[in-house]
């Protein structure tokens, strides 16, 4: 296609990747092998029967949501790591030989309240791994009596609304829940034409088709790295989750630890 000025551009489609004209068995083999490298592996440190007591699964995905769990919840009570998921994709590869300190996705359990499992996803789970991750994780829990909460974040630029969202209104929280969830959510529902994608969408879809009550909260924020104001917004969602108490505002030291690490990573020139 030529532009007004005559340059020739290759045409891309939003909708389709050009399919190969001739598929053959060899390609199929290669695709199969590639698919195997994208496998999600779950590892539990305790016997799986312990997980069956879980009635409240709380998943935090995205940097703000994961930091919220670390800062407000995991520091305030008696939590232990019970398992993790490992997966390989471009987003999780270490940059410049840095060794990653923790796995992309870790599961925690409160020693006093065994019915609650927290899942903190700080890494990246790619589109083709999201469905598989969800199926595998939910396969470990008893579906009956389970209730699910997802905390996630999104840049405010992705929020579509007739009224322009001014910077004073961010960060804000919106939610979506499955039809079997009877909760009265503490924040407005997401409205069309907005959608959820990513793990939050995979979890909601799984819960919807399996009739598991689930609510997903998404915080729309314009902050590039986690900050205390954005993290505060999740407290509203958390007041309605089970017996878990959100700790008081943690000490500046703890918050700084999370904010500082991000500052270092975002600096191009170090």
């Amino acid at each position: 296609m030529a532009t007004f000025f005559g340059e020739i551009l290759s045409v891309h489609s939003r909708a389709v990747e050009e399919a190969e004209e001739d598929e053959n068995e060899e390609d199929e083999e290669i695709l199969k092998e590639l698919d195997e490298t994208r496998e999600v592996h779950l590892e539990w440190y305790q016997s799986k029967s312990n997980l069956m007591q879980c009635t409240n699964l709380i998943i935090a995905v995205g940097r703000n949501a994961a930091s919220f769990l670390s800062v407000y919840v995991l520091t305030s009570a008696n939590w232990e790591a019970v398992g993790h998921a490992s997966l390989s994709n471009a987003g999780n590869q270490n940059i410049c030989g840095q060794t990653s300190i923790e796995p992309a996705c870790v599961f925690y359990r409160n020693k006093d309240i065994p019915a609650v499992i927290l899942c903190k996803i700080s890494g990246y789970i790619e589109e083709d791994q999201q469905f598989q991750w969800t199926e595998k994780v939910f396969g470990c829990f008893k579906q009956n009596g389970l209730s699910v909460t997802v905390l996630s974040d999104s840049p405010v630029a992705e929020y579509k609304n007739i009224d322009y969202a001014s910077s004073s209104s961010t960060p804000f929280l919106l939610c979506l829940q499955t039809n079997s969830s009877t909760k009265n959510p503490p924040c407005p529902l997401l409205e069309q034409p907005n959608i959820f994608t990513g793990i939050q969408a995979a979890v909601l879809s799984h819960c919807q088709v399996n009739q598991i009550p689930a609510v997903a909260y998404q915080c729309y924020s314009d902050a590039i790295s986690p900050d205390s104001i954005t993290m505060e917004t999740y407290k509203r969602a958390f007041t309605s989750v089970g017996d878990i108490k959100v700790g008081p505002l943690p000490s500046a030291d703890i918050i700084n630890k999370f904010i500082k690490t991000n500052q270092i990573q975002s600096n191009l020139y170090i």
Binding site: V16, L31, E135, K160, Q192
Partner: protein
Amino acid sequence: MFIPVEATPPSFKGFTLILPAIAVGNVGQLAVDLIVSTLSMKRVGYMHTDCLVPMAGPNPYATSAEDAGELHTTAEVYTDAEKKLAALQIRSPIIQSRSRKFRKLLVSWIKASEFSRTVVLSSSHAYQRDDQQLKGTLLRYLVTPAMQKVSGPALTELGWMEMEKLTPFPGMVEAEPRLSVPGGGITKGLFTDGCQEELCLAVVLVFCSEGDNVPDAFTLVNHLNDWLLLVDSDKRGPQKWKVPGSWKLLFGNSHPPSIF
């Protein structure tokens, strides 16, 4: 995998199935949106599979505040029992390495559900047409041998044009003309599978370019309506189709007022 909404799975026996191919300009999906929205079709099940990118959202066809918050997922099946019509809407791209698996899944579901006929709504790059395709209408169709027996004469009577088979380098190389649907995603594969599996399947497609593809969707759905008579064909133009609420802000938010 098809998962019904209610405990008793719906019967699709004798139903006509309409589904989109994820193709250039998302025209097929837009057209299915118009059909589901206009006929107020009822959601009867989900197509829950790892072949599609996960996505969830509020009700795209909401008519009141009460049903607006209802959760909808990547791929869902809707029916209109009176018209014996079913529609599969697909709302996200197919994961490329699993497109063959997805086609197999669709074909086996179509066979198991005993649909009387299947219509795939699709599109193809307008800029890749060859000389003979530049003439006349932008709309084309393809039918499997089984569909040809049932509906072939009706389509000829309507004056529809069949998708041409093309030679790779016209006028230069003597080669067997082949079917090609550039930008059509799984269209060609699904059609070929349909021929092999003896499905009663038709593809209806429009040549278009990326951009505002809403007019293309109306063109395609009006054309389909000439054959399937889904809505009253007396009314012309877009008025007879109900645009769903999910189409608003198709090109993003309005400008920030503070820039002036």
